[in-house]
Amino acid sequence: MLNKLFEIKNLYKKFNDQTTALNHVNLDIYAGITIIIGPSGSGKSTLLRVLNLIETPNQGEIIYNGENINTKNFNVNKHRKDVGMVFQSFNLFPHLTTLENLNVAQMKVLKIDKMSATNKSKFYLDKVDLLDKQDQYPNKLSGGQKQRIAIARALCMEPKVILFDEPTSALDPEMIGEVLSVMKKLALLGMHMVIVTHEMQFAKTIANQVVFMDKGEVIAVGSPTEIFENPKEDRLKSFLNRVEKS
C-alpha cells in the first residue's frame, strides 16, 4: 500500500451559520491521486480546504508528515508551501502580470531573487504551454488559460501535494479539456493531488482513490472500480445515477 499523505481523525467543522460542513470525518488520503466526489453541499470543498488550513476545523486531527496540523502553534505558512492549492475561480492577482503572479510568492516566501524566480516561473509556464502570455494581465486571458497559470503558480512553490477545488467548474466546456490534460500530465510526473471535481470520466481514468461524501460525512472510499463499477452504498448509487442522467 502507498504512503499516507493525510490522516484525518474525527474532523468536525461547523460554520457560523450553524451548518455542519464536516461531521466527524475519518479518512486516510494516500499518495497519488485522490478524487473527492459528492453532491453540492456535501462538505467536499470544506474537507479540501482544511487540508491547508484555509478553513480551520472546530475539532479533530489532521496528521501530515507525522504532525497534527490542527494545533495552535503549528507553522501554517510552512505547511502551505508544501501543500499548494488551485481554486475554482482561479484567483490570479489582477494587478500583476502572469510572470509577476508566479514570481511574487517565490520572492516573498522562498526569498529567491527576481532573476531565479523568473527563470523558474518561465519553466513552469512552458510546462502549461503559456510562455507567450508571460507579460499579459489576467483580464486579457481566457478561463482555461487563467487556470493553467494558477496551476503553474502553485507548481512554482514546488509543493509536495496540490489541492484542486473544482478546477474546471467555472470554465466553458471547450476549455475544460486543456486544464484536465495539464492535470493528467502532472499525475504522470508523479505529483500528489487531491481533487474535488464533478468530472466523473476524468475521475475514473486518473484516480488511485475515490472518496464519496454526502451531508458532511464520508460514505464510501475505494478504487475507481469499486466506487464507479460496483457501488454498494445506496446514497452513492443514487448519486451516480443522477450524475449519469445529466
Partner: protein, 225 residues
C-alpha cells in the same frame, strides 16, 4: 451690490491668505489623518472582539458627533488644565489641528476598511495558500487592489475637510472664514464678502474634485491594460 473691496490689495491679500491657510489645514489633516487611520482600520479588521469594539467605538463616536463639538471638547479638556497647571499654551492652532486630524482619521479608516473588504476573499486565500504571511498578503496582494477603491473616497474626504476647516474661525485661526469676518467687519459688505468667500471655497473644492477624477481615470486605464 458692491464688489469693489476685491480691488483693494489689503482685503484681497487677507482673503487669499485665508484661502491658503484653509488649504494647508485640510492638507495636513488629510495627511496625518490617513496615517493615523491605519490604527483604527487594523483594530476593526482584527479578529479579536475587544480590539474590534475599540476600533468601531472610536469610529462611531467621531462620525456620530459634530466636528465643532469635538473641537470644543478637546479645547476644554486639554487647553484649560494645561494652561492652569503647566502654564504652557498649546495654542488654538495645535488643538484645532489635533481635533481635525482625529476627525479625518475616523472617516479615512472607514474608507480603508471598505476598500480592503471590497477585494475578493479569494485573493487572500490564494496568497495564503502560496505560503505568504498575512502581513505580506496585505501589503503585496490586497492593498494594491484596495487602493483603487480607497483613493477616490479619500479625495472626497479631502473636499469635505476643506469645508470643515471653517470651524477654525471659532478658534481665531486666520483661515478663509476668519479672513472673511475681517473683511466684512471693515467693509460692511456682508452679502458680497460671503459670496466671494463661497466662490473661493468652491474654486478649491472644484479643482480638487477634478484632480481626483483625473487620478481615478488614470488608475482605471492602468486597470484595463
Amino acid at each position: 451690490m458692491d464688489f469693489t473691496f476685491i480691488l483693494d490689495i489689503f482685503y484681497l491679500k487677507t482673503l487669499l491668505q485665508g484661502l491658503l491657510i484653509t488649504l494647508m489645514l485640510a492638507l495636513i489633516a488629510v495627511l496625518f489623518g490617513t496615517l493615523i487611520a491605519i490604527i483604527p482600520t487594523y483594530l476593526r479588521l482584527s479578529r479579536h472582539k475587544i480590539l474590534n469594539i475599540i476600533g468601531s467605538g472610536y469610529v462611531e463616536l467621531i462620525r456620530g458627533t459634530p466636528l465643532l463639538v469635538q473641537v470644543m471638547l478637546i479645547y476644554a479638556f486639554v487647553q484649560l488644565p494645561v494652561m492652569t497647571f503647566l502654564g504652557v499654551d498649546f495654542g488654538a492652532f495645535l488643538l484645532g489641528m489635533f481635533a481635525l486630524i482625529i476627525n479625518s482619521s475616523a472617516y479615512a479608516s472607514e474608507t480603508f476598511r471598505a476598500g480592503i473588504l471590497s477585494v475578493d476573499k479569494g485573493q487572500t486565500e490564494a496568497a495564503l495558500s502560496l505560503g505568504m504571511s498575512k502581513a505580506s498578503t496585505m501589503r503585496h496582494i490586497i492593498m494594491p487592489q484596495a487602493i483603487k477603491n480607497i483613493m477616490p473616497a479619500l479625495g472626497n474626504e479631502f473636499v469635505t475637510l476643506i469645508k470643515e476647516t471653517s470651524i477654525f474661525m471659532y478658534l481665531g485661526i486666520a483661515e478663509l472664514m476668519y479672513s472673511a469676518q475681517i473683511v466684512k467687519t471693515a467693509t460692511y459688505q456682508t452679502k458680497e464678502v460671503y459670496i466671494v468667500t463661497a466662490i473661493m471655497y468652491l474654486a478649491l473644492t472644484f479643482t480638487t474634485s477634478k484632480l481626483m477624477l483625473k487620478l481615478e481615470m488614470r488608475m482605471r486605464q492602468q486597470d484595463a491594460k
